[in-house]
């Protein structure tokens, strides 16, 4: 893997929910084409960090930069200013997100789920959008289910549609928020296979996961988070096999 410049820069990100500080100053870089897995016990702030990257949560302090754009902010006169709704929307177009509970649009078919963003956000014509969406669905192996509604799909199929939906927008960065945690064990594999293929194509990915095998096989680096802090970051195999921190060690013995 040739490492270029960082695509994602996370600096001193702090997030509070009321009195509780969920993120206590996070610093992370993600290189272009890199896969970073975030692991750690529940409540450690992994998902919150991911949601901050997509600006679904607003960081109380610090900043997050993806390529040339800041999450929920723009630079004016050498100073970061809160972004307008349109600026936030165009930022989010470049950052794809896959949710734990899929969040497919329940009133739309699999194909419409993928094409709606292309048509209404990227402003493709209806036939172009449908064409693109078909390709994206075929890519995750679901061409034959394009007219099915989410409730007729298995969890694994729904999550693959959700991945196709996010990828169809041609983002620079893909965020996965525990994409297999809500799945029956026998359906986890098909989703991981799709994610592995996305990674192999060179997509930059931040993945919050409990799948240690996926982290070991696919991730370039793994970051271990605990109590709102990044405890350690390192190459996947090194961190998982020979963690340097005691907390990482005890977490890994508990999950493996």
């Amino acid at each position: 893997m040739t490492q270029k410049q960082p695509l994602v820069t996370i600096r001193n990100v702090v997030k509070r929910f009321g009195e509780v500080e969920v993120l206590k100053g996070i610093d992370l870089d993600v290189m272009e084409g890199e896969v970073l897995c975030l692991i750690g016990p529940s409540g450690s702030g992994k998902s919150t960090l991911l949601r901050c990257v997509n600006y679904l949560e607003r960081a109380d302090d610090g900043y997050i930069k993806v390529d040339a754009d800041y999450a929920g902010a723009v630079v004016r006169g050498g100073q970061l200013h809160e972004a307008s709704e349109g600026e936030i929307a165009s930022y989010r177009q470049r950052v794809g997100m896959v949710f734990q509970h899929f969040n497919l649009f329940l009133h739309l078919t699999a194909l419409e789920n993928v094409s709606i963003g292309l048509q209404k956000v990227r402003r493709l014509t209806k036939s172009d959008a449908t064409e693109c969406a078909r390709t994206a669905l075929a890519d995750v192996g679901l061409a034959h289910l394009e007219h099915s509604y989410p409730r007729h799909l298995s969890g694994g199929q729904q999550q693959r549609v959700a991945i196709a939906r996010a990828l169809a927008m041609e983002p620079k960065l893909m965020l996965f928020d525990e994409p297999t945690s809500a799945l029956d064990p026998e359906l986890v594999g098909e989703v991981l296979t799709v994610m592995r293929r996305v990674a192999e194509r060179g997509m930059t990915m931040i993945v919050v996961t409990h799948e240690m095998r996926f982290a070991r096989d696919v991730a370039n680096r793994v970051a271990f988070m605990d109590q709102g802090k990044v405890v350690e970051v390192g190459p996947a195999k090194q961190l998982l096999d020979t963690p340097s921190s005691e907390r990482t060690k005890s977490f890994l013995t508990r999950v493996e």
């Binding site: 997509n54 679904l56 709704e85 349109g86 929307a89 165009s90 930022y91 989010r92 177009q93 950052v95 794809g96 997100m97 949710f99 509970h101 969040n103 497919l104 649009f105 329940l106 009133h107 078919t109 709606i116 963003g117 209404k120 956000v121 192996g141 061409a143 034959h144 289910l145 394009e146 007219h147 099915s148 509604y149 409730r151 007729h152 959700a162 939906r165 996010a166 927008m169």
Partner: protein
């Protein structure tokens, strides 16, 4: 020990033990006729099923209800004071039918305006702008809190505190603008609008928050998210209670009689005010309200079925083709 089964002998009372593969019974009992439906307290008949319970109490209460209903109908039909001939005379009379038409107009027009008020204010209530949200709260609090009768009287007497409507040369005398009918429309719409805001807001809230997050993560703005994702899903939650609300509006519209709204009840009151046939005319009014409410209830059931949560959009599902499924 051989595997045996008990076979029903057809009378319902006795079972015969026969050799089989499923149940084990001592060989000595093969061919033995067993009375009753059990062997050693266990059902052995593979086709056994419980005999349905009889419900004599249903028939008994039905009979009692029929007798009581008959007595009630008989006493109503033979009660001279109800003056059925007068009822028949006025049921389809011109003023009554005109009043009925006004009642329907009032309800439909007010419901439509209320729907518009509800949509606009519910959307404003979703706004990030705290001023808009406060305005919506204020509106709902005020018009839902005010009794409809009081609101109608205020609208009708608006001229007493707003003598002229408009500005400078472009103003009109309020009294000429506000008739009983227009005051009724305004009052009913404002009142009904407050309830519609709540119904539509509840519909928006019924859409899981993950739907909005997914839409936002695709780069949709709030307006587009509402139009393309939230409203299409909320509509099925909004429609059934709206039908309900319309039915109560049909009945509540009778309150406009106090301001001479010209509706069904107003006309009936005008007639019995001059001929004192109070009861038969109230029966005429009751008949027509029950008729239109029943009609509206049918419509309501139809809408509820069409938009019930379980239904959802049903399009044909393509069958998975084998070569693609295995790919």
């Amino acid at each position: 020990m051989t595997n045996l089964v008990v076979v029903w002998n057809g009378t319902g009372a006795a079972y015969q033990l026969r050799q089989s593969w499923s149940t084990s019974i001592p060989e000595s009992k093969v061919g033995e006729v067993v009375t009753g439906s059990t062997v050693d307290g266990d059902v052995r008949d593979p086709h056994a099923r419980p005999v349905p319970r009889k419900h004599p109490s249903y028939w008994l209460s039905g009979a009692v209800a029929l007798v009581i209903a008959g007595l009630v109908v008989y006493s109503l039909a033979t009660n001279e004071k109800l003056q059925w001939p007068v009822f028949a005379q006025y049921l389809f009379s011109a003023p009554i039918l005109q009043g009925l038409w006004v009642t329907i107009q009032l309800s439909v027009v007010s419901q439509v305006i209320a729907l518009v008020i509800g949509c606009v204010l519910a959307l404003l209530g979703e706004s990030k702008n705290p001023v808009f949200r406060a305005f919506v709260k204020g509106y709902v609090g005020f018009f839902r809190g005010l009794p409809l009768l009081v609101l109608l009287l205020i609208c009708f007497n608006a001229a007493l505190f707003i003598p002229r409507l408009g500005w400078g040369d472009f103003s009109w005398d309020t009294n000429t603008l506000i008739s009983g009918f227009t005051a009724a429309i305004i009052g009913l719409s404002l009142h009904e609008g407050a309830f519609m805001v709540e119904i539509i807001r509840a519909g928006f809230m019924s859409v899981p928050p993950g739907q909005r997050e997914a839409a936002q993560s695709l780069g949709m703005k709030r307006g587009l998210t509402m139009r393309a994702i939230v409203i299409p899903q909320a509509i099925r939650v909004i429609i059934p209670p709206t039908g309900n609300q319309f039915i109560s509006l049909l009945k509540a519209s009778s309150l406009v009689a106090v301001i001479g709204g010209g509706d069904l009840l107003t006309r009936a009151q005008q007639i019995y005010g001059s001929n004192f046939k109070v009861i038969p005319l109230l029966l005429v009014v009751s008949f027509w309200y029950l008729a239109i409410v029943t009609l509206a209830t049918f419509g309501q059931h139809f809408l509820e079925k069409k938009y019930s949560l379980s239904a959802g959009p049903q399009k044909k599902q393509t069958k998975p083709r084998l070569e693609e499924a295995s790919a």
